[in-house]
Symmetry: D3
Subunit: 290 residues, 6 copies
């Protein structure tokens, strides 16, 4: 598994357990009690984070087995069995909340991405792709980006290292000129990454075109402005729309001929999905105490 995911899980378990551990389970559950667990989706959703869900239990106790019955990207019914666990009952109880916190959040992102993508898909012939942003839950970048893909949307760059994206603050940092920013980018950027630049008006758009930006982000423009920009660019660069986009606006944007729309809300404001873990004491175990 990904070391970044493991760091997040360890941090989550540490904040929940500390050195003192689960005092409820320690008081109630005999060491030899074994149990089974069922992960149920309790509303329709697109699943994401099943690997991390299973990983939590593996890190709590490698003797737990986890069988996944669904896979990331699958759409669930209103009530659907997603995974089965078996192992020491105390270990299942210890991992429950941490594992659920992760999968509920990621499935929320996937589900919101899926709903957004569906709105675009309805517009026949649209090439519009919905992108995420770097506005991901702290420590969950990779998981959140995978959830976006599981929902049928697409990823913008992963981090600061795999693409040049010149935003308003960068333009301010070079003294306010889009042209100057792009000149520096072309001279100094890594050889294998493309250059995208954010513009807020048509002078900047023209400078971006003249300097050969690969992608131009239209920030906070009206539909009319966007339509004008598409016409002006005429395929010389890819176009991305950004800035407070709500799902309601997607069908219109899908018709305007832009290539991408990026939505921070996909990852920063998705609500958690309802999934729960139902545990059962295995017969003839756990007689050691009580």
């Amino acid at each position: 598994m990904d070391p970044y995911v493991d760091r997040l899980i360890h941090l989550s378990l540490d904040e929940d357990l500390g050195a003192a551990g689960d005092v409820t389970t320690a008081a109630l559950v005999p060491a030899d009690a074994r149990g089974t667990g069922e992960l149920w989706a309790k509303e329709p959703m697109v699943l994401s984070g099943l690997g991390a869900f299973a990983r939590v239990f593996h890190l709590v106790d490698p003797s737990i087995t986890c069988k996944l019955l669904q896979k990331d990207g699958d759409r669930t019914a209103k009530r659907q069995l997603v995974a089965k666990l078996e192992g020491p009952l105390a270990s299942l109880l210890i991992g429950e909340r941490t594992a659920l916190n992760i999968i509920q959040r990621l499935s929320g992102i996937a589900t919101l991405a899926s709903k957004s993508a569906a709105l675009v898909k309805k517009v026949k012939g649209s090439k519009l792709k919905i992108l995420d942003t770097r506005k991901t839950p702290p420590g969950m970048r990779g998981l959140a980006k995978a959830a976006v893909r599981d929902g049928g949307a697409h990823n913008h760059r992963f981090g600061l290292f795999d693409g040049v994206l010149i935003k308003d603050n960068h333009i301010a940092a070079v003294g306010g000129s889009v042209r100057e920013a792009l000149k520096r980018a072309k001279a100094n950027a890594p050889r294998l990454v493309k250059i995208e630049v954010e513009v807020t008006n048509f002078e900047q758009l023209d400078e971006a075109l003249e300097e050969g930006a690969h992608i131009i982000m239209l920030d906070n423009m009206t539909n009319a402005q966007i339509a004008r920009a598409v016409k002006r660019v005429a395929g010389r660069a890819e176009l991305e729309v950004s800035g407070g986009i709500t799902p309601e606006r997607l069908p219109v944007l899908a018709k305007l001929g832009v290539d991408y729309v990026s939505m921070g809300a996909l990852t920063h404001s998705a609500r958690a999905m309802d999934l729960s873990l139902e545990l059962t004491l295995s017969p003839a175990s756990g007689r050691g105490r009580g």
Copy 2:
């Protein structure tokens, strides 16, 4: 600062920067460029996470100074200056997204907690306290719990270690008996933590009372059932209401005489608030390249 907060920030910076760093900033911004930054709230909100916001920049570059103009728990206007930063412009750009991701999310939690608490406060004489749960963003337990307090709501236990909370899965783990679960808890729980138990019907409620639970959680009960429970318990234990509670239901609950209501949504489904960082190149700096 709290080592758990530092672990979260390091993880977030690592996922955003990797070993290769911010290629846009490296390409555009001269090493000697200095800048100032202003953190603006762009909608009304209750602030939370200012310490972690400042800490991000400190960990990116200890030479950055951060002056907080507001404090956690403050309510902002629609557009309000929250903090000022000064330092190397490249370092400000590198920390921007990570710092915003944290404060936007925490202020979202504080704002939702505040709105919920206000609904209860309107009910004169109610003793009802709104509690959070352990359904916090992974790796952000302490920050999220502080945000709940900043918004005027209260914290349930912090983790698995500072209170006994016997839930459905624990009752299943001891064979289905609330009485048996409480007996074990009283015999084995740490001396200084109290015991709370979840019940779903009145037989369980009676067992909980007989076994001397300090707090009884009424799970998924109707208002009528809750009222009946309050009467039956008659002050012999504290009562907590739980299970899919929405803000709309709070005013009614506030009148029923229960002590607590716990709401997972406070921390698992709050949307991010809109805050942004506006950077300016300091005059007469950053002439080293370009």
Copy 3:
């Protein structure tokens, strides 16, 4: 295993091995030599720390097998076989000292706890429980607390997070008033932890009772004072005796009617028990060098 235990073991192995490793073993023992080891108790004791003992060898070399013949809390004869190991002889030699350092110390704590508990048990009908403190060997909190239980004594709170214990320095911190300290504690303490307060005289005792402390710690009182306190409290709170308690005083305390006595010496001054590891070269192995 517990990540805190693993951190302690890794730290111990690192300080013993560094990057250069065991130069004696490297010089003498062929890589293909296998061996068996026997862990012997060499004086009567109560065992504790067997899991950590085995864990050391697992972290040194996962191919070592460790079979425990006794369990934590067992009382040994003057010379008794406790565990058997098998694996690469070099790995057994590398883990030996670190594993022994841990089990010798923990068995010392368990043995002292057991002796102390026995002194109380002799007093028929006494409800007195012997408690440990937070004066545990640095980095061994959880292991030391388990050793106390293995010896038949009980645990006070685990750390600073799972109970309010107001001591002289806290009372000084609020300006000297037990009443004020308890008022603040009741207003601000986490909902699920109890409140204990240390008192040194009867005025403080009365304030503690009036403010509803769950447990009152009588600090450095004479037997006569303790008897008077028991009478005064009359079951309205639990009572704990503390302050330089030696085992000799336990039988008297057991008759006074207090609930608890806490003893720092259990964990800060127990001597190490004598356990040793006896290794044997397995026949027909280790012919690779020499």
Copy 4:
């Protein structure tokens, strides 16, 4: 400071605080309360661990100042002021127990080492040096070794990497021959470390001498046997006495002409010294809550 010491302190603070922190202090002490602390020795002792004591508070809160009035190796009166602290009162309370746990234990080791060394010093003209062993508290190797020196005794090797010490288990590992063990050691040991071998009888002693061991450890020999060994060796190697040595035996050993005596009890069974921290609320601070 030493990274190994920092790892121990972080582990100790983590086990005491977890992510939830000090709930007593959080409930009682206002954030703006400042305080002073005095570290008092409360019995005569040899001090050790002052640097680590101060380091704990620095890692808890870098704004705390710690002024040491004594230094490691100093002998205290029955009641003596050792150090003064100043800083946020909450931070002083948080660090108190962890810092005391370290210095109490290390001063115990230094004091026992000092008492042992004094017994030898009384024997005029004796060259006997008292050595420690690797039987140190887990995670405290370097601190414990410094405490031994602070008490006036000497260090054996630090770990497995800075000296060849062939013990019974190594001899077993090469098939039982001291000669074979020494041959392999001379052929393979690092160029700059010396070779010491443990012998239990005179045949082994002769082999050790013939193979040129730098130091020979006489294990569990009677005084008469030791005297005979000194005579036989006649300065051809250094001699160390080992095996269950109690302080009472030191004066006799000091007259027998051996070079070293090693005592595990110095570090594995020293009792903790009585030191305490007395805190005072600074006037006109801490009015923020209450």
Copy 5:
């Protein structure tokens, strides 16, 4: 500083010091001795790694001051003063070797890169850029890539995350077809990274052109083949030459019209430069021992 650089320095210090530290310095140098150090280049070279050199001493002892008299990329005389240090003499001795190991190696890379770049620069009008590879010293990726730039050569991608580079093993992984590999890359690669593909013959070259690769790497081709490829491509993609390139071949390649040549030897086989640290005891210090 970069956390990756800190990890490398901590690892290097740990392997050199362990928990036992510098026994020579501990034995010889009084704790109060202060000293000055001069870093001298002892042969002509291009410097690189000055920041990491200074960082080593900062991590050993934050009280050391380091003044850099040269900067990365500077060319030294045969004997030239590069930096001055001042601080506790023991700390200077402890950091010496680790700091030198880093700067000697990095200056070796910069110097070799500089020599290679000079060979190309002599060819008037050549656009050829010399690139490094990912064949960097383990753990030194960022430092080595900076050294290449300090020497005047250029960086290929940083790691596996910031560019698609399809090599022989990837082509094998998709069943042997360059076309198939490029199709998959275009469909699935991150939006902001470019695609480079390695070809070994002209059929593959044609496929790469048809599939729109941004950059084509000609692997192990003769000068004649390269010339033919340049003609065939005619500016439709950038061209990179690779495979066992020695500096001797650079002038010829510079004339062939390719865009890039990548050389693993820049970072995997550069020899260390001769730099040394000369320490002096500061007058009137270090009288504490001896």
Copy 6:
């Protein structure tokens, strides 16, 4: 495996992969594709680092199997199969570069050590041993020292902790006197490490002999001076020659009667050997995408 080796591998993988991972492999290779890999030596060399090579793949994906056909210290033909791997093809691609970077470098050191040792071996009857230094690649101390042994040369001390080596800077640190430095070393050095001192002239040599240094390092002396030193010392100490030694000088040194010659170049300037990994897609796997 050694935790220091694991730290180096994790650092190397982290710098190569970051949180975003291998984008080429992710785009091209289906998750269910399996493959085999062959590690080929492509020039004659002495192998070293096979354990670390295998360990990289194990840390990337524990399901990869690695079968070593050669062992460290083996000499290869011009083209020779060294190891076989089998596992998920994506995992093989991810580990390839990191694993090669390590083994290529270590085999370079072993090969250079072997060539140097061969030059000495040709001189019949010479006792000269070739030693490495602490000038090892940062983070690779233990691996590099093993490579030196694999090549048939010998190790000087491992780090600062396992031997006293008094160099020019130490002599400066005690005020310039070899005698004083040795006096302090004898008084204060750990009991089980030997003392070596560097001398640059015959007065220093005489002081070193008089003070009983175990080993004397002759720094930057001519062959004539070395011969004179050997005569003067006459076996009273071991002699080591050091300072810019090239392989060409070894045959002469081998005849002069010194014990050791230390060569920094063995570890700081060995070139990387040519080894490559050839991967093959396993039939009937990897049909999941494309």
